[in-house]
Symmetry: C2
């Protein structure tokens, strides 16, 4: 049990990397193999990411395809791309042979188109080849793009004995057996059977008598986010995928869905922070610029728009008391931005989790009520601040009231922009970041100065 | 198959709710039962959330405990709390009897303390009661707080035949069998056996001969986020939980982990948007105020701080050209905020996914390089804008240079605040929202005016 003790705490140490590098550089193949095969493939992938490209390629070529195919899947997209460039079509095909159809299709899908064909033509297992080609044809974001062809299915007309015999063969191909799918003679999905049921069933029974006709499934064209919602809601660990004629095509397992859920949540978070594309701390500066600069330019244009607005109120600068309004622009911009982001984040999460119920009017009234309370509380603080600084009470009141209006409007914009985007089929998460802060900055500052000017009678 | 066709598209319609309400109000018990038992428990939970409390309680009392216990788990925390208030300790205990130990402990854990004891005392199954009491003792955020006691375990000294016989009994208690855990005579985890292995093994074999000694597991005190990372990394669908002596205590399944991952990602997103606590669109106004107002007050204080700073530069207002600087405060605040949020979001996600590698110095240089490029690009745009408005070139240059410095400093603050928080054991996600925008607003505006004053020689 010794080796297991460290499993959960697997941490790459500099010593380990140095040791691996040394073994590789001294071409100690046997020792390298001995050292690395001790590790889980996910750990080997972490080690490879610390090596240089030549060393990583060397390891991939050295280790057995059965192991390296799993390692390749665990690698970062960028690292995998680089390593695959160093392998021949034949070598890639050998890795692909070892993988489940979904992982195989994912890796081939990342290759340049002409390379895809060359790799596919080198795959020897004809059935595997056909499965991969079928999967490559589906949209990445559809159930078809996520499913694997490997599954265990039995015919309703079989007996339990025949079923077990056939399953032994099928099971050898399937990494994890979740459910046994029951089909009719036309290969149409009609029910399921759990391994547990089979375990407790009499061997003489007929599948027809013991299968469960109630089975959840998804259409091959269903959006993956929809699939994720269904699997979460009904607590499914695997779901069969069918075409429009109910023919069983494949299955999606929960571990693929975990990635979908995580990516979706991270994408929303990144959009909220003003970052497009999936970009990680360790990506290149160029990737970071592509992901970040467009949002900054948007923010800059928003800022320049508010320069125009403020220039319009330049005359207010002549009055020694009223010119203080200009000191409040960052405060107003911050409040408008913060309130807008809060409201939109709530709505975006609500839309993602399908909890935005009730009429638009109710939501409108709720947001107005909420902003009124928040705005009045903040307004009172501003008035105290003004008293502390001996501001004219009318001036403090003006700021408090204008700010209250800005807060209400910002909340409404923050609430309704995502709802409208969602209705138009645009990802509402785009509204939670710089987009909403920038527009709220402009709008808030204009409203603030306009109202202040009105109230103060300038 | 008709009923299945609609499974994935289950949508509550107003007609359905009206029908259910009508049946309940007219006390048509039989028809209500007949209608509702057609649905999946997750769908019934959705229906209950649309009813009023009396109606929902009525349904819970009407339906069979086996079904309603599952419905209760699917309900929103708030709705469940209200319904449980309407049930007696005995009624709750009856629901609890039907649940797996982890769900049972979760529900009991939500009750007020004295009620917990009364409910527990009413549970008839002594083993179930002991399991629940054990689970209640663990920290909510530890592996112990997430695990279920139900699992299938076999002794290494059994034969396959005895194993299958014993498993049939155990399996009846376990919702889903993922792995069969193998223990020694002291109940210590020594390996695992997949159902698949059992399916293909000869019935005469001994467990000792066929089990796999390599098994991943977690300690009962491990943090749930750590457990989630391990299960994701190693693609596990279930993981056994052991104590310090390696005694097998329970198991955690991937569906519980999905919730952990989702909640964690949503929490980060909410913090980034300036919302504490878990709050949903449909929660009460009071909950929303508690979650949102503190951040707005923080933003207000930040805004008031910048009022002080701007007052300090009041003299700049006397010069007709230089006073234009005040028109740029929203722009500078926006840039400082946006850059800071971008940098911190990247770091926070990197920390969460363990991809922040390399030395602090490298990260520092990378962020400075990135901000330099972004800042110069944005500065050029500002100079074009100035030319367009016939600004003095020196004034435009001043703004561009000051803004460049603000951007670099904002990126550094955004990068290092989360890293420092993380090292101090504070959730770094707190740094991605109003906290970073507010401090960057203040800092950015001060720096901008200070540098501009310096360059323009005031």
């Amino acid at each position: 049990m010794e080796e297991n003790k460290d499993n959960i705490q697997f941490q790459i140490s500099d010593e380990l990397i140095e040791k691996v590098e040394h073994l590789i550089d001294s071409k100690s193949d046997f020792e390298t193999l001995e050292l690395l095969t001790e590790f889980h493939h996910a750990d080997i992938a972490e080690i490879l990411e610390e090596l240089n490209l030549d060393q990583a390629t060397y390891v991939i070529k050295l280790l057995d395809s059965e192991l390296t195919s799993e390692v390749l899947i665990e690698l970062d997209d960028d690292d995998r791309e680089k390593i695959l460039k160093n392998l021949s079509a034949k070598e890639i095909a050998e890795e692909i042979e070892e993988l489940d159809s979904d992982d195989a299709a994912d890796i081939i899908g990342e290759l340049p188109e002409e390379r895809q064909e060359r790799v596919i033509s080198q795959i020897e297992d004809e059935e595997h080849k056909a499965d991969i080609q079928e999967l490559l044809a589906y949209d990445e974001d559809s159930a078809g793009g996520l499913m694997a062809k490997e599954l265990v299915k039995v015919n309703e007309n079989w007996t339990v004995i025949r079923c077990v015999r056939e399953m032994r063969e099928q099971a050898a191909e399937v990494t994890r057996v979740h459910s046994i799918y029951v089909v009719d003679d036309d290969d149409k999905l009609i029910g399921r059977l759990s391994l547990k049921d089979l375990l407790v069933a009499k061997t003489s029974s007929n599948i027809k008598e013991i299968y469960i006709p109630k089975v959840d499934y998804v259409n091959v064209n269903e959006d993956v986010e929809e699939v994720a919602k269904v699997m979460q809601k009904y607590n499914l660990e695997a779901i069969p995928v069918v075409d429009n004629e109910q023919t069983l095509l494949g299955r999606i397992t929960i571990d693929d869905i975990v990635d979908v859920i995580k990516e979706e949540a991270e994408k929303d978070y990144q959009l909220a922070a003003g970052i497009t594309q999936e970009v990680e701390a360790d990506d290149s500066i160029l990737d970071h610029i592509k992901a970040r600069l467009p949002w900054l330019v948007l923010g800059l244009f928003g800022g320049l728009a508010s320069v125009f607005i403020l220039e319009d109120f330049e005359t207010l600068m002549t009055d020694p008391n009223v010119k203080k309004l200009f000191f409040f622009t960052p405060l107003i911009a911050a409040m408008a931005g913060n309130v807008g982001v809060q409201s939109s984040a709530i709505i975006v999460q609500g839309l993602a989790n399908d909890v935005v119920k009730g009429s638009l009017l109710n939501r409108l009234l709720k947001e107005i009520g909420l902003s009124l309370i928040n705005g009045i509380a903040l307004g009172i603080l501003v008035i105290f601040f003004g008293m502390f600084l001996n501001y004219d009470i009318n001036f403090s009141l003006t700021i408090a009231i204008s700010m209250l209006c800005v807060i209400i409007v910002a909340a409404l914009i923050g609430t309704f922009v995502p709802i409208i985007l969602d209705k138009k089929g645009i990802d509402p998460a785009i509204a939670t970041g710089p987009f909403i802060t920038t527009s709220n900055d402009i709008f808030g500052i204009f409203l603030f100065f306009y109202l202040a000017k009105l109230i103060l009678g300038f």
